[in-house]
């Protein structure tokens, strides 16, 4: 049998040539903002790195009472265990960063407008799940930092009126962070979250293929003859892969030059270590709550903070339904300023957060 015959046999059953035709005809717009198109792909690549390094860590990690000991073993006993763990932790940070860049580029290019509303919503859900991935993964080593980070982080759901304490107890598996907490966070981190994330990611990617890349309004306004594009295959794919290679190199550099540390084993009687602070991607909400607590003391401040967050996130989610007109008008400008306000709020509170640790 020739290769052609084998191809035809498979093609008849799987429709490979339709796929090939689709890939051949797919194009990507070329304009001054094209650089931002790579960030979704970079996020995807870093997610794949997370899956790969996560499975490697799973080979030796033991949740429950032995969690800390097993991470100590991975870090100090197994060959290159420190590197695998460091790559997993750094790649998590880089992934959140690139998702944020991707989100803001979509926002400012107004790529959420019709027909891409589901792309926007699914992307926001993916970001939400990614941050739960980050939060749950942070506890797994069970060192001092992860213990206190989880303790503090779970105060946020606990502040929800009436049902909050029950939710927090359910998440913790008891009134305090313990080996029960690490066991259920582990189940969440390696089974539940991937099971939700993967189909949603598939949906998100399918939508991107269905609608193609959105061009910013300034490019949309041009007559079709003046719009430039490049073939998806091989031109864009080649550049995409080059970006992946750059991301991998940056990751390798960070993971090996700045290996992720492992603190002392958690001790529920020990005081919180000096200078303790959340991961950078949780710094902004943490600082906003802190600032609100200065203005509104006690429980009122906590509840106001949660309400304000919820409101901000809901507005952010609903932006495609508010700013939907192709022509740039009042609403388009308002959405733009809302985006700038969000960037400013996130950056300033993050900076204040780091400034006040010292």
């Amino acid at each position: 049998m020739s290769t052609k015959a084998i191809y035809d046999w498979v093609d008849e059953r799987l429709g490979l040539s339709e796929l090939a035709a689709f890939v051949r005809h797919k194009t990507v717009p070329v304009h001054s903002q094209s650089f931002w198109y790579y960030w979704g792909g970079i996020s995807l690549f870093l997610f794949l790195v997370q899956c790969f390094t996560g499975v490697l860590l799973l080979v030796y990690y033991r949740p429950g009472a032995e969690a800390y000991e097993s991470v100590r073993q991975i870090t100090f006993v197994m060959h290159f265990g420190w590197l695998i763990r460091s790559a997993h932790a750094w790649s998590a940070s880089l992934m959140i960063f690139s998702i944020l860049v991707h989100m803001f580029s979509v926002y400012f290019m107004k790529a959420y407008r019709k027909p891409r509303e589901f792309g926007w919503l699914s992307g926001m859900a993916l970001l939400g799940i990614a941050s739960v991935f980050g939060f749950s993964g942070y506890l797994l080593p069970m060192d001092e930092l992860s213990y206190f980070a989880t303790k503090v982080g779970l105060q946020i759901p606990a502040a929800i009126p009436w049902i909050g304490p029950a939710i927090a107890n359910m998440l913790r598996g008891g009134p305090d962070v313990s080996e029960f907490t690490v066991q259920r966070f582990f189940a969440l981190h390696v089974v539940v979250l991937p099971a939700v994330f993967l189909p949603l990611l598939g949906f998100h990617l399918w939508l991107v293929q269905r609608h193609g890349n959105a061009s910013p309004p300034s490019v949309e306004a041009l007559p079709p003859a003046q719009r430039k594009s490049m073939p998806f295959f091989p031109n864009f794919v080649r550049k995409d892969l080059a970006m992946w290679l750059i991301a991998l190199n940056i990751l390798a550099l960070l993971a090996s030059v700045f290996p992720w540390s492992l603190g002392k084993q958690f001790d529920s009687l020990a005081p919180a270590p000096m200078g303790i602070h959340p991961e950078w991607y949780f710094m902004s909400p943490f600082e906003m709550l802190k600032l609100l607590g200065v203005v509104l003391r006690g429980e009122a401040g906590e509840i106001a903070g949660i309400l304000l967050f919820t409101l901000g996130i809901v507005l952010w989610l609903l932006i495609p339904f508010y700013d939907k007109d192709k022509e740039s008008g009042q609403r388009a400008r308002a959405a733009h300023y809302f985006g700038l306000l969000a960037v400013f709020a996130l950056l300033s509170t993050t900076i204040i957060g780091y400034w006040t640790i010292r």
Binding site: L56, V59, V77, M78, H79, F80, G81, L83, I84
Partner: protein, 189 residues
């Protein structure tokens, strides 16, 4: 840098395969979108292209190896630790000299299980407990005075380790035994 299509092939200009400078200038003048410098130097370019591809291939392989090596070592860690353990040549079994007649003590020699038998006649015998057939752990049966493997019914002689019946292809390896007041020293024969 474009290769020419159709009638502008180098062979058509003098039929020598390689075109002269004046001809390049002439073609470029009549076809402004075409630059022939690359074609003029083609034989050399082929070599640089091949060298480039070879270098890229080697670099790619080196890159993959640099990624794969730590992962391989990481996954092979327990195996390496076991190798260190199998390098053990002697085990001291504390208080094993008190073992009653006609009884057995199971212990770990390196990473694999082993037997120490105190026979009714007072003889001390030690041997590996890993069946030579398919690696099950064997047991000493004092009543039948034999070593038996429950997996496939292999039987060994409890004094010499010789394979007596059943599927085992080879005898069990004996260890050297030295009994003293503090315990029993077992070492590779």
């Amino acid at each position: 840098m474009a290769h020419l299509g159709g009638g502008a092939r180098p062979e058509n200009h003098g039929g020598r395969g390689i075109i002269r400078r004046e001809e390049i200038a002439m073609i470029e003048q009549t076809n402004p979108e075409v630059h022939l410098e690359a074609i003029a130097g083609e034989p050399g370019d082929k070599n640089t292209r091949r060298a480039f591809l070879a270098a890229a291939g080697v670099a790619g392989l080196a890159y993959t190896a640099a990624l794969a090596y730590p992962i391989y070592r990481y996954l092979a860690s327990p195996e390496e630790m076991a190798m260190e353990a199998t390098a053990v040549t002697e085990v001291t079994l504390k208080d094993a000299q008190k073992l009653p007649l006609g009884s057995v003590l199971m212990f770990k020699f390196g990473t694999s299980p082993a037997l120490l038998i105190h026979h009714e006649d007072g003889r001390w015998i030690s041997m590996t407990a890993v069946c030579t057939h398919l690696g099950c752990t064997v047991q000493y049966e004092p009543q039948a005075d034999r070593i038996h493997c429950a997996c496939h019914g292999g039987v060994y002689n409890p004094y010499t380790g010789a394979n007596v019946s059943g599927p085992p292809p080879k005898p069990l390896k004996l260890f050297k035994v030295a009994v003293n007041e503090a315990g029993v020293d077992v070492s590779r024969a």
